[in-house]
Amino acid sequence: MAFSPFNFLVFGSLFMSVAVLEEPKVAPSGKPAVPSPMLQLKQVYKGYGSGVTRTEVLQNINLNVREGEFLAVVGFSGSGKSTFMKMLAGLENPDSGEILMEDVPIRGPSPERGLVFQNYSLLPWLTVRGNIALSVNSVFPQWGKGERADHVEKFIEMVGLKHAAHRRPHELSGGMRQRTSLARTLAMKPKILLLDEPLSALDALTRSVLQEEILKIWEEERQTCVMITNDVDEAILVADRIVPLNPGPNASLGPAFTVELDRPRRASELNHNDTFKGLRNAVTNYLVAVRMKSRQDEASEDEAPAIALPDLEPKSMSLPRKAILNSPA
């Protein structure tokens, strides 16, 4: 990978202006120490390809994920959300910058960071119980057989799949498969849970049911959790903080919105809450505005030629009997 000195200079000045890293200082006595973040992203850049086909996906990502918080990253499709999550999981490395887990650089995937994808990757020949047991056995080989079995049952129950524990993935609905994925990941007792649009493949109703369940499980366990979503309402319902991922290429993070809504939260009650309304508008308006700005920037770079509309009316006298439809016949 080759950077011209000029590029390097530009990058250098961006570093300066975007985030100022704290110089180590002796903490004044008598003040509570600031808790160290569970996960830190420092000036992370990531792109793919090289030469003319090079695409910069993420730029200048700075983020601290705190222990015990539920952080939602809300972003547009194609803005690099999955790349972001893969880096947190250790499946991809940043081009520059660093990602620290409890102050140690991430060097690859680890059961400490449990990832749940949009598309559940369950083993089709194993039952719900078998899929969960497989993970538990691989992560806790030192446990006794009975202990592991109890552990598996506990998580099957937690996600409400006791009645379906003997079924194989193809015998499950989308929602049930996603519950199995969640149980499998939770059962590995990761220090941090990474949810990559876990609900976006589901229909609206299943989605809202699972939202509430994820929230309920989280409210019991209070496990550090990063979720990627494209849904502002979902983010407000579950998260302590919401960080927008601006549209790509060269996607960067927006400011962190704090969700000051009491828990437990229930979607139906939020509709009447003034903080909810104000925050919903603030986050939505922010996202709409960044998207419009990004589209304007794109358009001004390369304007499509204006085309004059010919002065023609449809030939209505000879309407074809066949419908012209946007559907398969």
């Binding site: 202006s17 975007v18 922010y286």
Partner: protein
Amino acid sequence: MTIDSLAPQVATFSVVDGALSPAGDTPHHKLASRSLATGYAELLPASKGEPAAVAIPVFKNNSPASVAVIALPAIEGVAGVIEIWEPVGPHNEVKLRCGEYGKLERFANVSSFVRFEKGMGLPGQSWARGRSVIHSDLPNHPGFLRAAGASAGQLMHAIAIPVVSDDLSSIAVLITSREQPLTRGVEVWKAQPDGFELLDSVYQELDIQDQLSSGASIAVDEGWLADVSNRGEAIIHEDKATFGVSRSGNGSSITRSLSIPGYHGNTLDHITTLLF
């Protein structure tokens, strides 16, 4: 509407025996008193045609030495933004304490829900550096995190001025709009043993001859910076010979300046100069 109409709307007060000097009873005097009492930058919201104003206390050796007051011009439309940010919670964050946004309601709404960690965003950078920070060309500034999503088209430049006694008390943020500049320019000067070095600057209607670029330096005993350093408080200068030092235009396009020193303990760290 020109910037000159703003000129009477800056004021400075010395702190003598714990009281403001000169004494008085004007709204700006009352605002400065409040700031002196709380140790925070304080905001006077706009009301009945009276412009909004901010009081910024200057601490030297951890005790208040003076107070500067800056008012937004009293015009209709987007005049600019004043914000005061304060530290909150266990995670080294600042949140909005109060702000004056005029018609920029959406920018206000976004600002009221976001928090900045130390080092992040304009207020967070100012906190981490313990120094005033300028962000220019806000719509495209990568560090001004709220910009893209919030009325950015109407905002131009911003300066964050931290109020630091033994720890951060608050941060005053001034944002100038495209249609109504608040100042002709803002400069942040770093105090060095042998003089002052211009760290950053931004200009909005100032003769090019009077502009200085980063890295410019002024000797320790010269001009308005020396005066601020010697007196150790916020000072308004109206003498072109003073604020014109080292400017090839001799300050002829400037009518006055307000300088606010920033101390770390007893040591002068930097001076923020607003040019009108």
